[in-house]
Amino acid sequence: MNVLYFAWLRTKIGIGEETLELPEEVTTVSEFLDWLGQRGPTYLEALQDRSVVRVAVNQEYVPFDHVLAPDDEVALFPPVTGGLDGVT
């Protein structure tokens, strides 16, 4: 499975992209995040507050109970801060 990280999730985890083989018992996004957190302290710290983690599967937002497929592109990122910058 191809996994992408953006913004501070990327800088905390230290990489922007990796290919991971998920164990069979990991089926939902939520289970995937639990499993990912056990891969090391940087993952654990980056994923500890789930309220600021958004997940897209194949470039569409999904809820945490979404079921993953082996060929999915999974992206983890903080809530978007919007594009437009200059105005209130």
């Binding site: 913004a7 501070w8 897209a56 470039q59 569409e60 919007g82 594009g83």
Partner: protein
């Protein structure tokens, strides 16, 4: 039409092109967003990160929503990413229509969406320190006004 690019855009040329040869278009509304000075002084800058592929999908989707809601001859959204200095143009929205209300309202709608939902993340630097910008709640309220 949507474009996500690193380079600058030419507002005048884009406006001219958006209704080139379409004589039913009477009005072209546009909005240009500029990187502001967030207290770091005019020498600060900002890096806009995005999710290539998903960004384009989301922008194309909001363009379709605007076209479904207003009678528009053309729509152009150009959004830049990468490192941008204070004062640089960052986003351009152009809406062309035979009706001025349609052009101006749809431009406003797209800008409100871009401000809140465009899949970008901002990293601000003032030369010494830098940090990721958090989401803003007041912008979400602005978006609610477009709900039917």
């Amino acid at each position: 039409m949507i474009r996500v690019q690193q380079g600058k855009f030419d507002v005048g040329a884009e406006i001219a092109e958006v209704c080139e040869g379409d004589f039913a278009v009477g009005g072209i509304a546009s909005f240009v967003g500029v990187v502001r000075d967030t207290g770091s002084g005019p020498s600060g800058f900002m890096t806009l990160e995005h999710y290539p592929g998903m960004t384009e999908r989301k922008l194309a989707d909001i363009e379709q929503q605007a076209r479904a809601r207003w009678d528009l001859a053309n729509v152009l959204i150009v959004h830049r990413y990468g490192k941008l200095a204070v004062g640089e143009q960052i986003v351009l929205v152009i809406t062309a229509s035979a009706h001025r209300d349609a052009a101006l309202e749809s431009c406003h709608f797209l800008i409100d969406w871009l401000k809140t939902d465009a899949p970008f993340w901002k990293y601000e630097e003032d030369g010494q320190t830098g940090g990721w910008v958090g989401a803003r709640e007041s912008d979400d309220e602005a978006k609610l006004k477009w709900r039917d």
